[in-house]
Symmetry: C2
Subunit: 185 residues, 2 copies
DNA sequence: CTAGACATTGAGTGACCACTCAAATTACGA
DNA sequence: TCGTAATTTGAGTGGTCACTCAATGTCTAG
């Protein structure tokens, strides 16, 4: 059980962790910085979390879940819906998008836990895109659809990577143009 | 002036730095790790470099330069040559490719020096690709060619990012397919 | 109101970080 | 072979890291 006070502190810590990863990346996200932003002392942090890693993983899970719209949904998607949902995610939840990119790279280096999570998520995403591509182009072979879906997903990641470095980059224009050219969406 | 011994130590340090960034990323690249791999003691390191940052920057410059084939060349390129050269760079100099991706993300966070370097290089790369696209499709507007070139470059980065996480990913197939679909190369 | 669970405080722990330096050793032109 | 400059040695510096803990303060069910 937790008292109201602890629940609020926990929320502040997660917000601080999320914005820190977005602002300065995983390496700059220290206990001291988290506590300072959350207005909490280290002792309180460790009363609420077992480790720094646990707080980070909570935020990362949140980011990965947020990439996929309509979670739990199993039916078919339109490709344009998938792309628009992703664009909405990146622009409306920029912090989470930065978290997603940060862990997609530096997170997936050594830490097996994060790396597996990233790769598993990538697989699911490609499959969802592949189904949408097949729906849009029924005449296309399944293998070909899957390959184009993977091209799309990795390319979207690359564009997002550039977007977080240069927010003048028009992600939406490039993403839609890419979808139009590769699968006629 | 440097003695032979110092020149060799410097070379070992740069090799160690390069492979460390490739293996464990920027955050895992410590003086201790560099010295251990280079078989050098910290005092020797600081006899040859002003700081850890200097050694890293030297390697990063090397990586950025290696992305562009035929440096100093100013004439027109074929788009397929540019793509093939990039694929050769990624597969034949995987360490440098990993360095390039590592700094494209985590490097471009806080450190203004690295970030500016990355963005400047991106601009030049896009321009070179745009020229190649215009050459391939003379009827295309310059703006459109540039936009497609930028789509291409950011997408290639995204694919490379995925490739360094999952070396089973067939970078060449996806890259060539992307080029074929977006500009008919 | 009170008891006991929960939360905060903040100094302290050992480990590791980038980096230094004086003394000893090695290289190499003259 | 000698003088001096380059290099190596390795213990040591101050700082920051993630994390701990006993004491104190706060909450809330009954």
């Amino acid at each position: 059980m937790r008292y109201r006070r602890g629940i609020e502190a926990r929320e502040r810590i997660l917000n601080a962790t999320r914005s820190l990863i977005a602002d300065v990346g995983l390496e700059g996200t220290t206990i001291k910085a988290i506590c300072s932003r959350a207005e909490v002392l280290p002792g309180s942090f460790y009363n609420l979390f077992d480790s720094k890693e646990q707080a980070i993983l909570t935020v990362v899970r949140e980011a990965i879940d947020a990439v996929d719209p309509d979670p739990g949904h199993t039916g078919p998607d339109e490709l344009t819906d998938l792309i628009d949902a992703y664009l909405r995610f990146v622009t409306e939840q920029e912090d989470l998008a930065r978290v997603y990119i940060a862990i997609a790279v530096s997170g997936g280096r050594n830490r097996t836990e994060l790396k597996n999570r990233v790769l598993r998520h990538h697989e699911k995403r490609v499959e969802r895109f592949a189904a949408a591509v097949s729906r849009l182009r029924p005449e296309m072979e399944a293998d070909e659809a899957r390959q184009r879906a993977e091209t799309l997903v990795t390319s979207l990641n690359g564009m997002t990577l550039h977007y977080v470095l240069d927010t003048d980059f028009d992600l939406a224009v490039h993403a839609r143009s890419l979808a139009a050219e590769t699968v006629g969406a």
